[in-house]
Each structure stands twice: as C-alpha cells, then as structure tokens.
Subunit: 470 residues, 4 copies
C-alpha cells in the first residue's frame, strides 16, 4: 500500500529529566517520522516556563538543530503530525500550549475522539473559544477547568469525558504525563535512558536514543513523572477498560523494528504472509513484495509456500518536492516514479505480488499493469489483511466508503478491475493469529464494521467533521 | 527620532462588500506599513466561513499576492503589527480568529488595555485558556460569552469591560464591525469605495485604494456594517466619553499625508516647527531636518525663523536584513548606515538641527557628533515636542523611565550629554496649539504623567507585563 | 525620475591591507547600493588564493554577514550590479573570477564598452569561449594573454584594446588594481583607512567606513596597490586622455552626499535648481519636489525664485516584493504606491513641481494627475536637465529612441501629454554651469547626440546587443 | 556500503525532437538521481538559442517544474552531479554552456580525465581562462578551437586529445551528440521515445519516461543526432578501443533495474551473492542484507547456501537536512539513524550479513556492533566484491590509500577490526563471472592496481588535483 493515500496519523514523544531534552526529542521524533510527515513540534519546560517551536515539514526541516537552543529545560514533549482531523495548517501543528489559571500546559495527541463535536459544542456553550480545528484542543479546555486542584487531577478527571482513541503526552512546568485511552487503540511505550524517563509511540524511538524499553503504558493508564518519581492512575473502572488495540498498526503503520502491543511488528507481518500462503496458495514461479510495504509478508509467503522470493521492483527512495510535470499524462506515472519493475526478473514468470493492503485500488492496478508490460506471464495478488469495508473513527484517515474498493465490488469484480489472474486477501482469523495475543485484544472495525465504542450520529463520520472542515 | 527604538504599534484595515476584498486589504496594509513592520495578516469572510493567512515580515513578504487567492469572500480585515504587548512571534500575529458557540469571529486590534491582566485572570478563573500573549485575545473571550444574542450585541457589551486604548476591526461571517475606545486614543477612519465601505487606522490607506474619506469613527462608537447598511452604537454614557487622542500620533507615528483626528499630520508638524522657532529661536546659518522624521518641523522652523533650509543629511533608504558586521565597532555605526552628513553643506556653519523627539538620546548624540566631524561650527538642537518623562499605557512602547533621557537629567545635563550649543524642546502649549482642536482633546500623558484613565498597580507598567513576558 | 525605468548601472569597491577586508567591502557596497540592486559579490585574496561569493538581490540579502567568514584574506573587491549589458542572471554577477596561466584574477566593472562585440568576435576567432554575456569578461580574456610578464603589465596593455566607459577594480593574489578609462566616464575615488587603501565608485562609501577621501583616480590612470606601495601607470598618450565625465551622475545617479568629479552632488543639484528658476520662472504659490529625486533642485528653485518650498508628496519608502495585485488596474498605481500627494498642502495652489529628469514621461504624467485630483489649481513642471534625445553607450540603460518622450514630441506636445500648465527643462548651459568644472570636461551625449568616442555600427546600440541578448 | 562515503559521480541525459524536452529531461534526471545528489541542471535549444538553468540540491528542489517553462526548445541535455573533481559549488554545476566563434555549445560529463592538468596547462599557455575547476570545461575549450569546420568535427577531433573516462552529452543549436570514451568506462545508453531519440547514463531513465532501449553507445563512439537523422563516428583506431568498463557500476553504483553493459544490474548482484556463498560458505542460521545495498547479493547468498533470508535491519528512508545534534556523541549514531536491527530477528542467531563492499570499514564495524548488542550470537560478514586497494582515476572518489581498510590491514586484522566471527570477500574471478561478458571487458583497477590507461605523475592522484582544489 506504500504510495496509497492512507494518511498516517501522529507520533508522540516525551522525556523527563534530561539536560538536553529538546535535542533528544528531535531524535525521537525522527525515528517516528513515518507516523506524520506534515508538521513537527517540540515543547520544553525548565521548571518555571514552557518553550515551544513548531513548523511545517519533515522533522529535519521543521525542527533544525539550530532552533532547539531556545527550547530550554529538562522536560520535553514532541509531536509529528499527519492531520486526521483539522486541516493541515501550522495552526493545527502540535504540541498545543496554553496559559490558564494554574499556569501553563502543553498537549501532544495521537488518535481521534468520537465525541469531539459534542464536547466542543458543550464547551462553546459555556463561552470557550477554539483557535484550532484539532481534537487535541479539547483536552486543554477540559484540563483548564478551574475546579481541579492541580494539573494531575485535571488530567485524570478530564479523560473521563472524552470518548475515542488517544495516546497523549502532556507537559506542565514540572511534570511529564502520559495517557492511553481505556481501549488502547494507539500504542504508547515507557522507557528509561540513564536517569531520564521516556515515552514514545513506538519503541523504535527508544532504539535510536539507546533508551531501554520497560513496558507499554497500559490502556486506561495515566502515568505521571515528576521529581517524586513515577506513579500511575487508572481513572476508568475495569468495565470500561477492554483492549481494542488497532490491528492496522501491525499491518501497515508501525515500523517493522518496533515492539508494538507486545509483538515485533516485522515478525507479525512475516507470520501474516505465512498464513496468507496457507489460505491462498498460488501456482507460481516467484514471490515479489511491493517494496517496502510488502517486504515482510512476501518473505513469509515465500517461506510457507516454498516459492522463491525475488526483487521484482526497484524503489526510488528520493523524496522531495512533489513533481507536477506536464509530461506525466499517464495515470500510472505516480506509481512509476516510485517503483520500477525489473524486466529480467519478471519476464515470462508467473508472479505472486504481495502487499499489505488495498484501499482505493488504483495504485495496485497500476503496478499490475507495470508487471504485465515488463513481461510477467501471470500476476497473482496476495494481500496480508482482509478487505477494508468500514471507516475508522480512531485516527486513521481512510477514504470514504464510496472510494473503498472492497465496499463497492465483489471479489470477482475486484479481480477484474486489478487485472490479476488470482486474488487473495488474508482472513480476519489469519490476520489476528499472526500476533501472540488473543484476537479479542484488537480493534478490527475497519474490516468488520464492529466498533468497540458507540459512534455518534449513526456513524456518519463525514457529517461529524463537516462543520469543522475549512 | 527616526532610528530610535520607539516601537510603533499596529495598523488595522477593514472592507465590506468588495469582490476582491483580500487584495484591497493587502494594499491598505501596505499604506499602513509604517505602523507595524513585524507581521501582517488578513482574514476574510465569504458569508459562511472565515479564511485567514498571517505571517512574519513586511506586508510584501508576509502577504504575497499568490497567497491571497485562498482568502475568499467579500468582507476582510487586516493587521500590521509591531508588538506592544505579546512577544514577536507568529502566534501573536493578528487578526486573531476563533470558533465559538455562535460561529466564527476575528479581531484586529491597535492599542493597549490597562486592565488586561485583571480581565485575563478573571477569565482564567472561569476556565478560559489563552493561546497567545496578546491583549487582543481578551476581546475574543469576552465576545464569545454565551449570554449574548449575537456578535453585534456581544461586541457592544464586551467593550464596556475593557479599559484602555483600542481601535478594533472585527469580522464575523456577515459583518464588519469597527470600534474605537471612548477616549479615542488611537485613530480609526471610515470611508467609501464605490459600493464598499472601508475602515482604516489612517486615511493614507484610503488614498492608495482611491477610497473616499467620510469621517473618523468617533470615540466610544461601535460601527456595524452588514447587508442592512451602516449603523452605530454608543455603549458608553456621555460621562465616560471624553476625548484623549494621542498627540504623539501627530508628532511621530502617523504618516504626514494622513488626516488624523481631523488634521493633516504634515501640516500639524510644520506648525509645531513654527511654534518651536518662536519659543526657541537660534542664531544660526542653516536649518536642517533629521530625515525624514524632522522634515516638516524643520520647514516650519525655517519659515518662522527666516533661516534658510538645507539638506544636511542624506538618508539611505535601503531596508533589508539587518547588518551585524564585526567591523562596526563604533557606537555610531547604526546611525551612520542610515544617515550621512554632507560636508560641503554643513562645514563651517552654525546649524539648527530639527527632529520630532528624543527618547534615549543616543541616536541624537551620534548625529550631533557626525555633524561636528563634518565641520559644523555650532549645533543647535530643536525638538518639536516636550521632553518625555512618563511611560505610555495606551499602546506606545517607550523605554522605561530609567532609559528616558529627560527623566534623569536636567536640561543643562542633556545639553552637555548631546554636546550641543543650545537645545530647545517645544512646550506643551506650543505643541497642542499646532492642531485645530482644543488642547483638552488630547492625551499628553507621556509628557505630563497625567493619565486620562486609572492605572492599576500604581502605574508600574512593567510589573503588569512581567507575568506574560516569555 | 525616481520610479522611472532608468536602470542604474554598477558600483565597485576595493580595499587593500585590511584584516577584515570582506566585511569592510560589504559595508562599502551597502553605501553603493543605489548603483545596482540586482546582484552583489565579493572576491578576496589571502596572498595565495582567491575566494568568491556572489548572489542575486540587495547587498543585505545577497551577501549576509554569515557568508563572509569564508572570504579569507586582506585584499578584497566588490560589486553591486544593475545589468547594462548581459541579462540579469547569477552567471552575470560580478566580480568575474578565473584561473589562467599566471594564476588567478578577478574583475569588477562599472561602465559599458563600445567595441565589445568586435573584441569578442576577435577573441572567439582565436578559440576563446565566453561563459557570460558581460562586457567585463572581455577584460579577463585580454589580461589572460600569455605574452605579458605579469598581471600588472597585462592590465596596462589590455586597456589599450578596449573602447568605451570603464571604471575597474581588479584583484590578483597580491595586488589591488584600479582603472579608469581615458575619458573618465564613470567615477572612481581613491582613499585611505588607517593602513589600508580603498577604491570606490563614490565617496559616500568612504564616509560609511570612515575612510579618508584622497583624490579621484584620474581618467586614463591605472593605479596599482601592493606591498611595495601605490604606483600609477598612464597607458594612454595625452591625445587620448580628454575628460568626458558623465554629467548624468550629477543629475541623477550619484548619491547627493558623494563627492563626484570634484563636486558635492547635492550642491550641484541645488545649483541646477537655481539656474532652472532663472531660465524658467513660474508664477506660482508653492515649489514641491518629487521626493527624493527632486529634493535638491526644488530647494534651489525655491531659493532662486523666492517661492516657498513645501512637502506636497509623501513617499512610501518600503521596498520589498513587488506587488502584482489584480486590483491595481489603474495605470497610475505604480506611482501611487510610492508617492501620495498631501491634499491640504496642494489644494487650490499653483504648484511648481521639480524633478531631475523625464525619460518616457508616463510617471511624470501620473504625478501631475495625482496633483490635479488632490486639488492643485495649476501645475508647472520644471526639470533640472535638458530633454533626453539620444541613447547612452557608456553604461546607462535609457529606453530606445522610440520610447524617449522628448525624441518624438515637440515641447508643446509634451506639455499637452503631461497635462501641465507650463513646462521648463534646464538648458545644456544651465546644467553644465552648475558644476565648478569647465563644460568641456563632461559627456552630454544623451542630451546632444555628440559622442566623445566613435560608435561602431552607425550608432545602432540595439543591433550591437542583439546577438548577445538571451 | 550504503552509508559509506564513496561519492557517486554523475548522471547524464539527452533528448532530441520532443516538444517538452526540458520536462522529459527533468524526469530522466530524477531516475538518475542516485548518480549525483549535489546539483542538477538542464540546457535546451530551440534551434537558435540555448537556455540553461542549474542549481544546487536534489532534482526536485534544484529543478522545480515552474522553472522549466523558460527552457524553450525541442532538444535538451541534463546532468545530476556529485563532484569528483571540482569542489561542490554552483559554479561547477553542469551542463557547462558557453558562447564561442561558431555559436553556442553545452556539455554534460560523467567521468574523470587523467590528463586534465596537462591539457589545462597547455590551454592556459595559449591564453585560455577557466571559470570552473571541472574537467568538463576542458572539453569546451577543445571544441571551441577555431580550426574546425563545425561542432560535429570539433567533437570528433577533440576527444582524441583527452585521456580517461568520459560519457558525454553535448548540445548545440541544432544537434544532440553523445560520446563514450574508447574504454567505455562509464555507461551510456541510446533509446527512442516516439519520434524522439534519447541518451541516458542508465536504462532506468528510459523506463520512467517509457522510452525504448535500443543499444549502448559503444566505447569510442560519437553519436550525432540532428534533422538528418542519427549517424556515428569512431574517432579512435581499433588499437585504442578496448573495453574497460567499470565493474563497480555493477557492484555498487548503477540502479538494480538498469541494463548496464548488457546485463541487468540486480541480477548480476544476485549472481555475485551466489558465487560468494560458494567461495565463502558460513555455518549460520540467517542471511541478512545491509539494506538496500546488500539486498540482491544477500538473496543470491541465501539461494546458493540454503540458509534462510531475513530482514534483520530496518532502514529509515527519510532524507533531508543532515542532523548535527549535540546528543549524538556516540560514533555509531550516523549508522543508527539510518538502520536499526530488529532484536527479535537476530537475537541468539548466527548471522551472515551481506553487503556490496567495504571502503574505510567504520560503517561496517558499527553495524556489527549493532547486531551484537541486539543479541546476535555470531556475525559472519560477506562482501560481494574483492578488497579495495587502489585509487580510481576514472570517476569514483574513493578515499586515499591511507584510509582504505584493505590497504593497510591483513585479512586477520580486518576481521579483528570489524569484530566478526568470519569474513569473506568475493574473489576477482567470482565477481567477473557474475556478468554475461568476458572478464577482459572490465576495468578492475581499484581491486588490482592494473590501470587500463597510463597514469601521469606516477599515479599520485592527489598531487594532480592539489593545484585545482579550492
């Protein structure tokens, strides 16, 4: 699916008690770059004041090292963003920092609230004003309520009001606070680096800074780090805490070297590929991955099927200014500029091409066409997850139902649309069996339509967002 | 005083019912560029939604024409900013736009509130959060209170809560609203351009877009422009409405071609120069202005004294990246890079040098030194306003009392410090007599210490701002 | 004429024996900014190697201080450019530095050669290649001829081959060389700063760095500065050395505070204004300058006529991104954005408006229109030089004959075109009498068509340049 | 070797007879981006004039589409650059365009001349000046010699003077010319796109624009394309034409999907990996590639050895501003920010890590250390080419002998330095046997010290370049 238009969401990072907190945060965000390429920001505290810098672009451009000197202090949080709600403007970059009655607070958020519109209307009814179109601003308004004794209490009480997916890092003058919603939709890890404590969306951020992974922040946990040490609150009763971790983190989003929800992502993907080979074997000469999204699943498919693995596509890794060039009339150009088939590898062969998912299907169709023009005799497509049929309300920006390929076509129609000789999607069971956890620990709503939370407004996601879109 | 560090404040502009509202606003802001060089912004409405763009820098850089296409709609407000309160960051650029219970609203503000800290504390006590450090954000919180029926009523009621100097342009989905505080500290003009109505800090903005000046918005007036036409509210009783217009707009800030408080600024300055010549005649060969700040007063001085006028200084008008160059050890460099005396004009002459004001005195001192090195036989300095002795709480960012030259030195000491042969400041009466209005219509607090409003906290301006400074 | 499209040409600067040569050169170029706003460059030598940096834009942008650290050494030359020949690309920025048989050399040039095409063709016939479209590259090819013993000899011999206007600063590993053509078309000054020697197009560059003006480099002089001291060569016999200094430097180009060809520019302009008043008196109430180009002449006119001087126009000094704004339909917009008449000053008055020159006339016409709309009763235009009727081959980029107002219209037609009540141009004699030098020391070709040198190709300047234009 | 400091050299592209020649060239250069990331340029001809634009940076930044509109015409050449000689400044970007006696010509060059200094000295002795420090400028001087009848003859004669490696694309007003040196060191392909002809360093550029590969330009061939059609010259006698194609193009430089010297690069690499497994088997659990440089060889090693393949490293593909961050004290940081081992994949395993080459060895050493810290039980390193022991004079910028790991250490010492359990380099024979061509068709000088041409100055490459380094 590399190349398709699923917007990745966000990565968060936090560190407590490091003399170069802003610099470590910049590195942590670099490791989380794949979770958001649109904007990045860091907010620090020196014990008295908060300092912030955020900007549009990739971490290396948005947060150049020379700008970090002003971000004083030993506590920091950071954010890389791909908008899920809120249009992509600087005003919507995070962390979101404000002044309020008890001082200053900054929040960085990964996820998406399902009752955002409701809460916002309620807050506005009491006179609140909103400077951004982000869900995340709602947390700050809730925390700022004057009735709480301090920020810690405010956080613990506030999260009870919100419904949906949220992994948060929160900074005030003296504390770093991590929060994960009671379903645990989005990952959040807790670690240690010498005398410092760290929080990050994925463990790959710990590897880069050579921090040690301790454990996941638990679903429904509020973890508070300050000079008294580390302590946890569990604002939600047992009944509300049931795991519904996003299986799509394993399928697509997280980095393969990250430990997510207790499993190494790359190995889960390899297992998915193995299960896929068992469910949908193919009579073929060569298994090739769509680089890099299908790399692990293709390896698993090859191992389980015994069909040898090949590099049938070359990927051009240069990113930069997007090309808009009048010569690119052909629809397939956007695909070709990223991957090119190797004729001598695929010519005359029966090819199994493995990828992690199909959303709209245009990219997949173009790739099949490239393989055929390069001489492939047969093209068998294998996808390491089930067909997408439902929108996600928890932070993934899938296209609308109208645009989802599997929503509107039978399996036979999809096969014809893609122009493949055979097509196989991994089953729900096969996908869930690839992790070491029980199937009930995961949210599979985008494949099944079974949402772990109530969805207001009858599930019309787009109606909810309309008012805020600008 | 050109070259000294008085921070100019802000310029505001608004237009109702123009098919190219954003473009006209850009031009209006360009004419108001002298009122704020740090940042600029425009917010428009198409009747349903508000669109905003703001950025750091001069209007031509901050608001390039190609960015205006997205600013849809026929109503617009704009702002050029020089921070008075609120540090100079993009987060403090204006207009300030928010969502709230009744929809959207944007505010652009010229002035400074004296009860900002009080209001802010009160709002925070009820749970309000502040995303900027600007006074102007307070207006938005007040307007957003849910108890009002509509934005118009909200504005009329809100301004009763604030104390201090404010000329505002306010935009909601369907209305352009102008407000001037009951003292009328800052100017605000009302005009017409074909079928459109316009508001601007100074009439020079009307000249550029070829709009017709109709009248000043009156002190204490709220002027509302919408599809029903133009109507005014006067929220304040007669007792509260007493003119205290900033005389320093005439002395220094406003453009000479503007009609401000009913008089043409350049002609007021020329009259000040004439009065100055009468009060402080000089036995000299040549009158020279400090370009361009002393141009009009010098001409008046020359006319009244009969001493011929000369161009003794050449001014280098190139602005751009500030030079920080290790060769510039000499203290006088910052002065020299802007103005250079013409030796053949001043050599051997007894010179009267006329400027509009002296604040710290370093710049004036350097200029005297330049003239002496260029061979001037005598240097007589004449200043077209009285000595500055008190801080301004209404939007002008004078230095602290410690730094104000006249606060700490006798007239004899100042003369010695500047190394001039004679020194004359225009008297309060002489200054006020230069306008066509009565002396009681002006605020002269910076010269007299008599403030038209109460000053909280015993007048310690800097204590007030400390909390907010970051 | 401020605002009209005469392209200014170039400024050159050089310094020998200064520990911060590049930094001093940056300042010198800043003082010469008015001679070229398109590009700037500096080349230095540390005794062994040459270091260069050049870039597009104003000095402050093109040569930021942080880029100067790499420009090592104690000798430097610099250049600000407005293209006369050679289109405005970085490839045509100067200094022009090359490697050749004897080492390295860099040249910066102000002026224009009349036999450039001839020399270029001849050099190409021997196999020379040209990387730029600048005249200045020809000097380097001539200097590089292997037959000379050293760079000094090469310069002395090379200049004998070129015809036209050139003031040069040349840098090799160990020497700074200044050259002025035998007619002295363009200025070049020689000065001293402590133990350093300096060269500059105008003395205002010396004022800024506090160097002492010693004398002009003489027409036909090659001045060589190295560790042995300062020495001069005069490659041309007496017969070839006859002064033909550009009178238009006094009228328009040079800064008023500069000493050019032995006179202070501002005072020459004032004298021109006085002569103008005598030749073309006016029955009027007020003399107003076009700011800033007419400032000195207007003052002279006022003094000689006894008609009082006024500031009728306000000038907006903000430069920056050029505005291209769809609202600016009106032709007069480009004029209005720079100057605005003050209604109260001009209303009902008979106005004498004084400017330095008229080229195409559109700008002048727009200004008259502005004055009339502001209520001027009569407008009498006075110009402090004669009408332009011929192209300049010596470095000034006037428009073609077809576009020159005075080339194609009788005095009566011009008056009608400009819509003025009366019109007066200063006579040739009146203009020349404003300097302290004899009239035979100046080139007046643009007013008379009498060229001091032969013009190849029958004077078709545009044919000459066609081949090179790209 | 991805991550090591071998500077890649250059890519060239040319197209004849395409209405959007500049746009197609931009795309072609994007496909050749891996051959040079420092600068890029395009020069076009419309039959009469040449138009050029070049700039620093990656193709997408250096040649944005909006700049291409000025590059008129139907013929174009382009260049992506990584400096081999000539420091990395804009002045050294290519194509190099000049005017000379017969008109205009532009050259883009991939390779390195061995007699550059000699030719340059000779040209300078005749008065030539050099504006850049590039070898490529020499071609232009030679072509510009006035004795030839036309550009075509000039190219045919000029190449006889130069010694070394060069694949050239040359553009004049009406012709596109391709040249490959008689040894064929660097690749150059010829193809067709509809009615247009194309030249490119590698065939992957043809794939992107959907052109058809026809054949390689032959060693010693000058191919001329103009309105008369396509014709070839062979300036060199049979004796001088002997193939010495760079085997390192197959090992490292070229893209795996390119057809280079008649073989598909990726498949040659896979074969190298297979031969490597036969020569240096390992008793291990898992083969892992260094991504992406070792991908194909590792696959070949896995196939030949039967040891299963795994993704042991994750690569972070985000490029951008280089990080210089004070926290990165650890030497291994530069390695870690690019690749991260997956603990669960390597833990407890005996690992064969396969890469294409080792130059200095620091990067390889760091990777071994990463694997050990991630729990690898044994690390067996396999390299798909022989040890590098000699400098390249033909366009590859290896470090000096002092820095080459294999030059200074025995195999045992290298093993110890890298801290590996075993180490195997592919033999010369094994490497050459991986192509379908005879071993005598390749240059292997960097592995053997046997240079196909004479090397002036006793082979001291660095002495040669010293004079020119700035």
């Amino acid at each position: 699916m590399s190349g398709e238009n699923i917007k990745e969401f966000c990565g968060v990072f936090g560190i407590y008690n490091h003399p170069q907190a802003a610099y470590v945060t910049q590195l942590g965000l670099f490791a989380l770059q794949h979770r958001g390429e649109e904007a990045a920001g860091i907010c620090t505290s020196d014990g008295n004041d908060l300092y912030i810098y955020k900007s549009m672009g990739l971490v290396g451009d948005a947060l150049p090292t020379e700008r970090l000197a002003n971000l004083k202090g030993h506590i920091a949080i950071g954010h890389t963003r791909y908008s899920t709600t809120g249009s992509s403007k600087l005003i919507n970059a995070q962390p979101y920092r404000v002044d309020y009655s008890r001082g200053q607070v900054a929040v960085a958020h990964n996820g998406n609230l399902v009752n955002a519109q409701l809460l916002r209307s309620e807050l506005e009814a009491y006179g609140s004003i909103f400077g951004s179109t982000m869900d995340s601003e709602i947390f700050v308004h809730l925390i700022a309520k004057p009735s709480y004794r301090n920020c810690e209490e405010a956080v613990v009480e506030s999260v009870k009001r919100v419904e949906g997916a949220y992994s948060l890092v929160i900074l005030n003058e003296t504390q770093l606070i991590g929060v994960r919603d009671p379903y645990g939709f989005r990952p959040l890890c807790f670690g240690k680096l010498g005398e410092s404590y760290v929080l990050a969306s994925e463990s790959c951020a710990f590897d880069l800074i050579e921090a040690e992974y301790i454990r996941d922040v638990e679903p429904g946990e509020v973890i508070v780090i300050d000079e008294k040490g580390v302590r946890s609150h569990f604002p939600f009763g047992e009944s509300k805490r049931r795991k519904a971790q996003c299986i799509f983190e394993h399928v697509y989003f997280s980095r393969p070297d990250s430990l997510v929800f207790g499993d190494t992502v790359g190995l889960v993907r390899e297992k998915m590929g193995m299960n896929l080979a068992k469910e949908h074997p193919a009579n073929a000469d060569l298994v090739i991955p769509v680089p890099d999204s299908g790399n692990f699943a293709a390896m698993g498919f090859s191992k389980a099927s015994g069909i040898s693995l090949g590099h049938g596509f070359t990927r051009n890794h240069y990113i930069g200014r997007t090309f808009i060039n009048p010569v690119q009339e052909a629809r397939s150009f956007k695909v070709k500029i990223k991957i090119n088939p190797i004729r001598k590898v695929v010519e005359g062969k029966r090819i199994v091409v493995v990828d992690d998912s199909i959303v709209r299907g245009n990219t997949a169709k173009s790739r099949v066409s490239l393989l055929r023009r390069a001489g492939a005799r047969e093209v068998h497509m294998r996808i390491s997850c089930p067909p997408h049929i439902s929108p996600c309300y928890y932070g993934i920006d899938f296209p609308s139902k109208e645009e989802l390929l599997a929503c509107n076509k039978s399996m036979e129609e999809i096969k014809k649309f893609l122009d493949v000789d055979s097509l196989g999607y991994l089953s729900l069971e096969g996908m869930l069996a690839a992790t070491s956890k029980g199937p009930h620990e995961f949210c599979t709503a985008c494949f099944t339509g079974n949402y772990p939370t109530e969805i207001p407004d009858g599930g019309d996601k787009f109606k909810l967002e309309k008012k805020r879109k600008r």
